[in-house]
Amino acid sequence: MLAQQGDFASHLEHLASVGAVGSEVREPADLNDLDGLILPGGESTTISKGLERDDLSDRVIEFGREGRPILGTCAGMILLARDHLGLLDISVKRNAFGRQRASFEEELEIPGIAPGDPFPCIFIRAPWVEESGPEVEVVGELDGHPIAVRQGSTLALSFHPELSDDDRVHGAFAAKCREARDSGDR
C-alpha cells in the first residue's frame, strides 16, 4: 500500500476485511516481500513528487514489470499512465468530470471487476482514460469514457472502491496477489 499521501488507510481497512495483510510503503525497502501494490486515491501531483523524492518511482516500475499485481484508484490511475510510471499504456484526462461540485456516486454494472450486483462507484474529481494502446482492456465505461482498465496484472479505476462498503474489488485483488505469489511467476 503506497502511503506517500492519500486515502491509503481506507484501502488497508478493506484489505483487512478480505483477510489480506496490508502494510504502508514510504521508502524502497518497504516494497520487499510484497505480493501486490495499491496506489491509492489522493492528489496525483503530491504523490508523484513524493515518489521521486523517496526514490520509489523506478522501484514501483520494476515491481510492476515483474508481473506483480498493482491496483490504482483515481490518483493511482493517473500515476500508472504513460506520463508518470508508464505501467499502463494509457493517457488520462485529470479532473475529467470537473471540480468537486461535479463529484458524484453512482451504482454501475462492471462485470469485469465485480460480477453480479452493480458496484457503488464514488467519483471524486475523477479522471477518465482518454486514449489507450492495444494491450489495454477497457473493463468499464461511463458515458462512453473508460473508467476501469486492465493491462496484464495491473488494474486502474477512476473511482474509489475503498470509500464504499463493497469489498469485491479488494477481494479479487487479494486473490490475484495470492495466485501470483503461489505460482511463483515473477
Binding site: 489522493g42 523524492r53 468537486q100 474529481r125
Partner: protein, 294 residues
C-alpha cells in the same frame, strides 16, 4: 442515477487530502509554488493570518477574481474561507466552484449564534474545533472535515496541540462508556446523541481530522501527525518564512515521514529562519481567534 453532494462524496474529498499539507496562498504565484512543493490543496485568501492579526479590522471572504486566478494557476483542489455563519459568502464560493469551504474563525464572524447549515450545500465544508463537543456540533451541521483551531498567524503550536489532545482524548473517553451513559455524555458535550454513539462505537470521528494553526516547522508537522492529525493546514508558516519553497517541501516531507525522526531531521536542515512566533500571553483576550464560534 448519479448523486452529487452526498455525505460520502463530500467526505471523499477530505479522505483524498489525508497525509497531505494544505497551504495558505494569497496569489497565483504562491499557489504555483505550493503545488510545486507538493501541497495536496491550497487555501486561497487575501491575507495570511499573521497579516490579518497585524492589520486588524474586519476580515472577509476573498475577492472572487483572486480565487479564480488561483483556480486557473493550479490543478490541485482550491479551498476558500467564509466567515462563520455567513451563508451568502458560502453561496458565492460555491458558485465559484471552489472545492472546499473553510467556515473559519480566522475571518471576522458574521453570526454570533449560528454556524452555516452545511447540508444545504453541494460543496464540502471544513470547520475548526477546540474540543470533541465542538467537533461533533460542526459534524451535526454537515461539516465533512474537522480541523484544530490553533491560534492562526502565531507560529506557536501550543493551542493546536491542546485541541488535538482534547479531541482525541474525548474520543477515547467515549469509548469507555456504556450505552446507558452515552446520552448523558452527549448532553455534557452539547453534541448530537446519534453522532456521539457513532464515535463511541467506531473510536474515531465520522470525518477526517486535520491540524490547523501554528505549524511553523517540519517537526511541528510531525508532532501533529503523531498526535492523531490525518493531515496539516499550514498558513503563515510557509510564506512568512525566509525560504518558502524549501520550507513548504520540508513540511510536506515531514507530514509523510512523521514517524521517522531521521527524515524529519533531514527535512529540517538548511531551511532559513522560521516565521517569528507569538507567545499566547502576548495575544490578550481579544487576540484569541479560537474563541470565535462555539
Amino acid at each position: 442515477m448519479a448523486e452529487r453532494g452526498t455525505f460520502r462524496v463530500k467526505t471523499g474529498l477530505a479522505e483524498m487530502l489525508k497525509g497531505g499539507v494544505i497551504m495558505d496562498v494569497v496569489d497565483a504565484e504562491q499557489a504555483r509554488i505550493a503545488e510545486e512543493s507538493g501541497a495536496c490543496a491550497v487555501m486561497a485568501l487575501e491575507r495570511v493570518p499573521a497579516d490579518i492579526r497585524r492589520d486588524g479590522g474586519v476580515a472577509r471572504m476573498s475577492n472572487p477574481a483572486m480565487i479564480r486566478g488561483i483556480q486557473e494557476a493550479v490543478s490541485i483542489p482550491v479551498m476558500a474561507k467564509a466567515r462563520i455563519g455567513h451563508i451568502a459568502e458560502a453561496q458565492v464560493l460555491e458558485s465559484l466552484d471552489v472545492d472546499f469551504i473553510d467556515e473559519s474563525e480566522v475571518l471576522t464572524p458574521a453570526d454570533e449564534a449560528n454556524h452555516i447549515d452545511k447540508f444545504e450545500f453541494e460543496i464540502p465544508f471544513v470547520c475548526g474545533a477546540t474540543d470533541l463537543g465542538e467537533a461533533l456540533r460542526r459534524i451535526g451541521e454537515g461539516a465533512a472535515m474537522i480541523r484544530s483551531k490553533g491560534e492562526a498567524g502565531t507560529g506557536n503550536i501550543v493551542e493546536a496541540v491542546r485541541h488535538m489532545r482534547e479531541i482525541t482524548g474525548g474520543i477515547r473517553r467515549l469509548g469507555t462508556l456504556s450505552a446507558t451513559e452515552l446520552p448523558s455524555a452527549a448532553k455534557e458535550l452539547g453534541a448530537p446523541l446519534e453522532i456521539v454513539r457513532e464515535v463511541a462505537t467506531s473510536g474515531w470521528l465520522p470525518v477526517p481530522l486535520f491540524c490547523a494553526g501554528g505549524i511553523a516547522t517540519p517537526a511541528d508537522a510531525a508532532l501533529m501527525m503523531q498526535l492523531g492529525a490525518e493531515g496539516n493546514f499550514v498558513g503563515s508558516g510557509i510564506f512568512k518564512s525566509e525560504d518558502p519553497e524549501r520550507r513548504a517541501r520540508a513540511i510536506v516531507e515531514a507530514t509523510t515521514h512523521f514517524a521517522d525522526p531521521e527524515r524529519v531531521a533531514a527535512a529540517s536542515e538548511a531551511l532559513g529562519d522560521a516565521m517569528t512566533g507569538i507567545e499566547m500571553s502576548a495575544l490578550g483576550d481579544d487576540g484569541r481567534l479560537a474563541e470565535r464560534g462555539w
